[in-house]
Amino acid sequence: MNDPYSVLGVSPTASDEEIKKAYRELVRKYHPDNYLDNPLSDLAQEKMKQINEAYDIIMRQRGGGGNGSSQSSGAYSGSGSSGASEYARVRAAINAGNIPLAEELLRMMTNRNAEWHFLMGSVMYRKGWLDEALTYFQTAARMEPANMEYQQAVNRFRQQHAYNPYNQSAATSGCCCDNLSTCDICSLLICADCLCDCI
């Protein structure tokens, strides 16, 4: 295996804090959410695995007991399982990366319900036909507004928080106290002041 430090892109003399920061940045970059329904998701998973392994090795070497690597890879199989065996075949074809087969199976079906539109959208998305993908996802979401899977697929196009190295505001979040507003701080200070008075 490669040198774990070079996998994380840090020098062996880096502090624990620097390593954690580099690790967090890489996890954000290769997070499965960024590669949802993407034909390259297997390569991203591979990267994620290497990064997690490297981080664990370094943390074990340093005696920190690397508990940061939360592995949640895989399992993006579109677990709809709504009974119909035809759709199960389509999903299997999509998961196996056989997009032409999935498309052909879908085109042969006559009963075009919400799931049909959703799966056609997934096929189009994987082909890179994003305009048509969105149209199919929207139709699916309109036919079954309560279905979260369909809604999420539509929202994917509005998503603004995808990985972007230039967007530092997203990079710094993750600290435990960054959701404190000025208002919260003020009220905390007032509380503390009251307590002081009590004593």
Binding site: K29, Y30, N34, Y35, N38, P39, L40, L43, A44, K47, M124, K127, G128, W129, L130, D131, E132, L134, F157, R158, A162, Y163, N164, P165, Y166
Partner: protein, 297 residues
């Protein structure tokens, strides 16, 4: 060829900008070496991007000072022709020649006079490049045939038309080493899709005036030669999504020497181009920016 794929210059470091310029000048030299002394008129930002992308090592390419025809008083630093640069010069000649021929066959005699002249000028360079890359010429021919068939059928599908063009750009990755090919193909597919759609959006008013068919107008049912708010939002969302997928594919490649410039192009330059074209500020700023770049030293 189109000039839509370029960095956001204000966000580049001076060093990165120098690397970019050296590669741009290097491509110009390569075009002359691979083609004829005239063929550097087709020099473009898009193929500079491709050359940087296909240059896969971390070491800096060798650079030498050269004199430039556009500004002979100043010496510039240009990359020596590395293999990816020679490849890009060939691809650039082949694609541009076919694009010119396409206009010549589609348009009337007088309207196509300029392109007719340019294609004659490029003919000898094209013959040389085509002899070196016969497989790619095959791709170009079949994709352009499919594209013109779709246009004749008046297909309202934006994606189906963009797909043919995007296949052409994805095929540029075919000589890449095995482990880089899949991410590169996906990256170039979305860059090609982006170029095709943004070009159609950019030409909307011109095509309307000349009564030419425009795929964006057909998709969104635009009749006035201008974008409606709904069409603009839809285009922005689909184009930025292509940028995002191209960037996601890029991150799976090992970073090479030009990584900072490439990241700038994918994360800042392309989204900036997209917004500028859709808001109508692209054309007014375009020529000024180009001149700035050429005279700048």
């Amino acid at each position: 060829m189109f000039g839509y794929i370029r960095p956001l210059r204000d966000e580049l470091k001076v060093r990165e900008y120098e690397h970019y310029k050296a590669c741009y000048c290097g491509l110009c030299r390569a075009l002359k070496e691979q083609g004829t002394p005239f063929s550097s008129f087709i020099l473009s930002y898009d193929f500079t991007f491709l050359a940087m992308l296909l240059y896969d090592t971390q070491d800096a390419p060798s650079v030498r000072p050269v004199r430039c025809g556009a500004n002979p008083l100043k010496r510039r630093r240009a990359c020596l022709t590395f293999p990816a640069l020679a490849l890009c010069a060939d691809y650039s000649i082949i694609l541009t020649w076919w694009k010119l021929r396409d206009t010549v066959t589609d348009e009337g005699f007088f309207r196509s006079l300029r392109d007719r002249f340019l294609s004659i000028l490029l003919k000898r360079a094209y013959n040389k490049a085509a002899a070196r890359r016969p497989a790619y010429v095959g791709h170009v021919k079949s994709a352009l045939k499919a594209l013109s068939r779709l246009e004749q059928e008046e297909s309202p599908s934006l994606d189906a038309c963009a797909d043919q063009f995007a296949r052409l750009t994805a095929a540029l990755a075919e000589d890449a080493p095995e482990h880089r090919r899949r991410p590169l193909e996906q990256l170039l597919y979305h860059v090609g899709r982006f170029i095709y759609i943004i070009d159609a959006a950019d030409d909307l008013a011109e095509d309307h005036k000349a009564r030419r068919r425009n795929v964006v107008a057909a998709r969104y049912g635009l009749t006035g030669g201008a974008l409606t708010d709904a069409a603009r939002d839809a285009l922005e969302s689909t184009l930025l999504h292509s940028c995002r997928l191209a960037a996601a594919a890029y991150e799976l490649l090992d970073p090479g020497h030009f990584a900072p410039v490439l990241q700038n192009i994918l994360y800042l330059g392309m989204p900036h181009t997209c917004r500028a074209v859709l808001s109508g500020t692209w054309r007014s700023g375009k020529n000024r920016k180009n001149k700035e770049f050429e005279q700048d030293e």
